[in-house]
Structures are given as C-alpha cells and as structure tokens.
C-alpha cells in the first residue's frame, strides 16, 4: 500500500469514522506492529494483545493525529513504543509501582516538532549518507532494542566493533541533525 493511500485512509477515519478505511490501516500496520513487539522480545500471545491495543488507540484517538506534525508511521510507532514501555513496566521483576513516572512521560507528549519539509530533508540526508550496515545497526539497536552483544553475534562482528560503529553513527547523525 502506498503511503499517500494510508494518509488518505486516516483522513477518512478522522472525518467519517470510516470503518473500511480503518481496515486498510489495520491490514497494513497490524502485522508490522505485531512484528515490532516480537522483535522486542515479547512472546506471541502478548504481542497480539498489544497490537490490538495499539490499533484500538489509532481508531479511538484518531483525532489526536495531525498529519502536519508527523508521518502516520511515526505516530503509530510512538503508540506502539508506549505500549511496550507499559508492558515491561507491568511485567518487570522489580515491584511495579503505580507511580512509575514513565506512564505520564510518554503519553501523547506535545513536543516542539520540526516542520514537515525539514524533517523530510533530514530523513533523506540520513538515508543517503548511512550505508546499509549502519541502517541495520540503528534498527537493531534502537528499534528492536537488541544489546550490543546480540548485534555482534547476529552480524558476526566483534563486540568492540559494534560499539565503535554505533558511536560513529551517533556522531554522524549529529551532523545531519544540525
């Protein structure tokens, strides 16, 4: 499915509570969100429940999405990330306390977002200047939250190399983000 079609479906949900439009969003994102949870070490049954929560939030809170502020995939990613934090919080071996601050810190945070065009330009630059392995390492480290050790094992490179390359990527990204 094309990005613009998804944006269009989202508009129809916001405007008309269009269930067919929602089914399109669901078909595209549910398997990806489900995969995200599994990549983050959450087992299948739970991943499916969390996926349901994420997509329900998309439906119920669709009016909170503003296409001028972020891409649809970014908005859905932040919802999924917040569900993940919530899940870890409830399932951690440390006694979970009601007052865990993360619950309010990650919810629908209104931050000083960048202009859409500026964001697009930055993304293009980042995509152009990072090579494939660097992109994979970013995905493994920050999207799948794999440890440096695990990344080293999977890519079959030494642990020290993983650390220094990630540090290099972070420095490089700082240049892009100016």
């Amino acid at each position: 499915m094309e990005k613009s079609n998804l944006d269009d479906s989202m508009k129809r949900i916001q405007k008309d509570r269009d269930e067919m439009a929602f089914s399109e969003i669901f078909d595209f994102f549910a398997p990806k969100v489900n995969a995200y949870f599994i990549q983050n070490g959450i087992r299948f049954e739970s991943s499916e429940e969390l996926t349901q929560e994420v997509l329900s939030t998309v439906w119920v809170k669709s009016n909170l999405y503003d296409s001028n502020k972020s891409a649809l995939s970014t908005w859905i990613f932040t919802i999924a990330r917040n569900k993940k934090i919530d899940f870890y919080r409830k399932n951690s071996k440390i006694n979970f306390k009601e007052e865990d601050v993360r619950e309010f810190l990650y919810q629908d945070r209104e931050i000083d977002l960048i202009e859409e065009n500026e964001a697009k330009k930055q993304m293009e630059r980042i995509n152009n200047e990072l090579d494939e392995q660097q992109k994979i390492m970013i995905k493994m480290n920050f999207f799948e939250n794999k440890s440096h050790k695990k990344i080293a094992d999977e890519l079959e490179i030494p642990l020290g190399t993983v650390k220094s390359r990630l540090r290099h990527i972070l420095t490089k990204m700082q240049e892009f983000l100016r």
Binding site: F22, T74, K84, Q122, T171
Partner: protein, 209 residues
Amino acid sequence: MNGTVVKNQLIFDFASGVLGPAKSLFASTYLQLNSNASKISSTFENMLGENLMYNENIHPKNLKYTDCISSENTKPTPNANDPVTSFFGKLDNLNWKQVYKGFKEYTAKIDDKDELKLIKMDPGVSVPLHSHGGKEFILVLEGSFCDEYGEYSKGDIQINDQKIKHTPIASRHTGCVCLSITEKDVIFFGKYGSFLNLFTFIKSFFKPK
C-alpha cells in the same frame, strides 16, 4: 567520551523507550526545555517510524480489525506539560535537605538504579572541586551555573564522568536549580573534600532500600 554523543544517546534511548523511570523523567524534561534536543528526538522518532513502515510482517493469528473498533475504553490522558512539576509538585513545598550552606538537594523517591535529584544552589555558591565515580547528568531548570568548561543555562545539559574534575559556581544573580542523574556517588577533592566524601560514604548506608 564526546558529550554530544552521550546526549544523543540519551535522546535516542528515550525515543526508543528503553530508559528507566529516573532517566525517562530527566530526558523528558530536557526535551521540554531544549528545542534543539526536542528536534533531534522527533527526527529520530521519524526514523523509527520509517523502520516500522518497512518492517517485516508477522500476522496476528486471531485479530481482526473489528476487534479494534469495538473497544472504546480510553483512559483520560494525564497532563504531561511539565514533567518536573507533575512528578515533584511545587518545588518550594519540597522537604529540601541542606548539604551545606547555600546548597540544598532533594532526592526523588523513585524505584530505579539511577539516582534522581533536584539541586538548588543560592547565588554565587560553589561546589568544591570533585570528580565522579560514575556518570552524572545535570540539567539546568532555572538560573545558571558555570565551571571550568563553560556556562550552563536553562535547558542546558552537562555530562560528567570519571575524567572530569570541576568546580561549579551558581550564577551570582539567579543561583540555580538543576535536575541531576547520578549513576554512582561523586568523589570530592580539596579543602572540604575528605569531609564530603565521608558524608556521601555514610549517607550510602541510609539509602532507602
């Protein structure tokens, strides 16, 4: 280590959702006070969002889109406009502990391996030369301070590690209020150093478990 890299790491870890509660609160406040950090964070969230866009598909087995439409139970969203006030309440009402004249701190009751503290320094007050056992992050909430490395005002972050020895001095006009994360206790040098080291050593026995 390059301070910029550590700052970015903090922002990216926040965006990825892997920070503990103490650092989450710290990072969230940082993003709120510092528009540059906030922009970096949103760019990074865009990157992660794009990863989601092109992520592999693992289809849920028993989930249909209609299952997501029926459940309209939403919790009201807590107001997250100011993380520090939401968490600590009004700073004036806190039970501040005086460490020495002109220097007060308040340690957050938070279940985490990192220690989260508020620090308040009266105008012109300085901290004796010290280094750090582990990493320390300082974020200026109000006023400003300076040390051998530069001046830090509202929204600025300073990251200190074992290699750094410094003598921070609060602004003569405004003093300063900072939020700090300590991964391990600091080590003091100089005139009052041994006394303060003893103090932090003794204090470590009385930490709430």
